[in-house]
């Protein structure tokens, strides 16, 4: 995970062959080593308790619940695969399918746009701009305040006579009531999420751009590479660790979309209009707290978790091919 100096290699698959502290002969042995090991386990005791109580146990319990019928009172009953059958039955099937479609629609629009805009803004700001902190703040502030208190403003901005439609009117376009129209509610959510998420990605790209080796950029400029070629062949390959990090975070965040869609509904959490803003996490929330179907909700949550875990694993797997860490070594 780390190289000799303890630098981050979280995102790298390549690890040093031999850990500096591993070789069996070098490890302090006997009484001292046992004493140090005791202290080690004492220091990580809080983490062990937290891991057992708030990670390992819940994962196992939710696996058990996924095969149970449980209305939050008494004890769960084992019912085999009934909860998984329910996901495709005529009652729940279409609603769940819609929730999945909505979630994918939002995620597939939001994630690439956050990445592209975040990278574009970082490239603009990395050109020795005067007043850079001011611009950086303007782009990053939405990420800091991107909670309910900001989504509230967007309900007005995306309303019938809101700022967006006033702007569109100047262009001669008659805009919809974004968040109340089944055809546009997801686009409205996408706009809010791009506004809120781009700054965080920009900040990470910017940190990466500012740590690029100047020699390399200068050398490619001397060799006659234009700005476009320098971007595709020098900067972008060197930025792949940041791109990878943002992608992992972006996918988890995009598929987990909840706050935005919950708050913008006329009746919070209803998925209005016509379930067009119903997302997967909202569906799980609804099954748990409105229908008290903890077993079924767990089954859906497991499917969701498995999907996110599979996507994350695929990214780590493929990252060997396209994420470059050479420059560090």
């Amino acid at each position: 995970m780390t190289d000799g100096q303890g630098r981050l290699r979280l995102l790298s698959r390549r690890r040093p062959r031999s850990h500096p502290q591993k070789p069996s002969g070098k490890r302090p042995s006997g009484k001292l080593a046992r004493r140090e090991a005791r202290w080690f386990y004492l220091f990580i005791t809080p983490w062990i308790i937290g891991f057992a109580a708030f990670a390992a146990w819940p994962i196992l319990a939710s696996f058990g619940l996924a095969f149970s019928d449980y209305d939050l009172s008494g004890w769960p009953n084992f019912i085999g695969f009934d909860n998984f059958d329910k996901m495709t039955d005529p009652v729940q099937g279409p609603v769940l399918a819609k929730a999945i479609r909505n979630t994918l629609f939002i995620a597939l629009l939001v994630i690439p746009m956050q990445l592209v805009f975040g990278l574009a803004l970082a490239l603009l700001l990395s050109q020795r701009v005067r007043g850079m902190p001011v611009f950086r703040t303007a782009f990053y502030l939405p990420t800091v305040v991107s909670g309910v208190a900001s989504i509230v403003v967007w309900i007005w901005i995306l309303g019938s006579d809101g700022l967006l439609n006033q702007g569109l009117e100047l262009l001669g376009i008659d805009g919809p009531v974004w968040l109340r129209d089944p055809a546009t509610v997801k686009l409205g959510v996408v706009i809010v999420m791009i506004w809120g998420g781009t700054g965080g990605m920009m900040l990470i790209f910017l940190a990466g751009l500012q740590s690029l080796p100047a020699e390399l950029l200068d050398a490619s400029a001397v060799d006659g590479a234009g700005a476009v070629r320098r971007f595709w062949h020098v900067k972008l390959p060197l930025l792949t660790p940041q791109l990878f990090f943002n992608l992992v975070i972006g996918i988890a965040g995009g598929l987990g979309v909840f706050t935005e869609t919950y708050v913008i509904s006329t009746d919070p959490g209803s998925g209005s209009p016509a379930n067009e803003s119903l997302t997967l996490v909202m569906y799980i929330y609804r099954q748990l707290l409105q229908n008290l179907q903890a077993g079924y909700a767990s089954a859906v949550a497991w499917v969701f978790t498995a999907a996110v875990a599979a996507l994350t694993a695929i990214q780590f797997w493929t990252s060997r091919r396209w994420v470059h860490y050479e420059y560090e070594n």
Partner: protein
């Protein structure tokens, strides 16, 4: 403007007697600079606009808000909006709950992640890489996967509508990502400090508390700032664990406020601005730590 006049003569004052050609050769470069600033100013205005509009609307009357046009400067500063928001809903309670949870949760997460990270970074033992690997895996488990059993656990314990489920879990390890960040920082400190203190007979706990921890204040600040922002904006957890109107936090309270006051924009804007104030104040003070934190987190490598 300044840049424009400068091109007419020479790019730099010192280059006055240099090549005449540099005057016209520089102008496309200057034009690019001007375009760059125009784009940056336009985009940053767009990004800041919702926020600027929200602040100005908090001081407007409802009639003024629905007037077409941008009108970022209100006709008069209507402070009654804030009173109305405070009187319409238990705003002060929500604010207090949010602050209580965010402050205690941040203290718990920061100290506990530093404590565990010291173990992972400095102390050697069999099984330490296994434990650290397990910790890293938990970074990628979505919270939604854990929500249902945790909800059942906390409701059985009778902790719903109390701040415990939102604070206590952070006191046990403080989140794997924070442990990871702190461990990186501890690893960067000179190990001689630990060895020298051991020779002097200091206990491991004293070495951590009196020697190493004070050196990690920059990293502690970064973890604390990010965690506070995270807890202040957290929505799903308080929504599930704090369903009682009086014991919930600002984001959950506000989300219910939206549907009830869907016509009363001025009150809603005043309320949401008050909800943003602590986080904006923190951001203003801690901005440089945030930027430093992104570098510290080492994603750049």
């Amino acid at each position: 403007m300044g840049a424009g006049t400068r091109t007419a003569h020479s790019p730099r004052p010192g280059a006055r007697h240099g090549l005449r050609a540099s005057g016209w050769r520089a102008s496309p470069r200057v034009a690019r600079r001007i375009a760059l600033y125009a784009v940056l100013i336009g985009l940053s205005f767009l990004f800041a606009l919702p926020f600027l509009w929200q602040f100005s609307a908090a001081f407007k009357t409802n009639a003024e808000i629905i007037q077409p046009g941008l009108n970022l400067i209100p006709d008069s500063l209507r402070l009654e909006n804030f009173n109305e928001a405070l009187n319409a809903v238990p705003f002060d309670l929500w604010f207090y709950n949010s602050l209580f949870i965010a402050v205690l949760g941040t203290i718990g997460a920061t100290l506990s992640s530093a404590f565990c990270a010291y173990g992972f970074a400095v102390l050697r033992a069999r099984g330490s890489s296994l434990c650290f690997g397990l910790a890293l895996i938990t970074i990628f488990i979505p919270f939604e996967a854990l929500l249902i059993p945790e909800f059942i656990l906390f409701s059985r314990l009778g902790w719903l509508n109390s701040p415990l489920p939102l604070i206590l879990p952070w006191c046990f390890g403080g989140g794997a990502f924070n442990i990871f960040l702190m461990r990186q920082f501890f690893k960067g400190l000179p190990r001689d400090l630990v060895d020298a203190a051991r020779l002097d007979g200091a206990s491991e706990f004293r070495i951590f508390w009196q020697i190493m921890l004070p050196l990690t204040v920059p990293a502690l600040t970064v973890v604390a700032v990010f965690h506070f922002i995270y807890l202040w904006n957290d929505f799903l957890r308080p929504l599930v664990y704090l369903q009682d109107l009086n014991s919930t936090t600002l984001p959950v309270g506000l989300s219910g406020f939206v549907s009830r006051f869907s016509r009363d924009w001025s009150t809603l804007m005043a309320g949401s601005v008050m909800a943003l104030l602590p986080i904006i104040a923190l951001f203003a003070v801690a901005q440089r730590f945030i930027v430093r934190g992104i570098n510290l987190s080492g994603i750049k490598r």
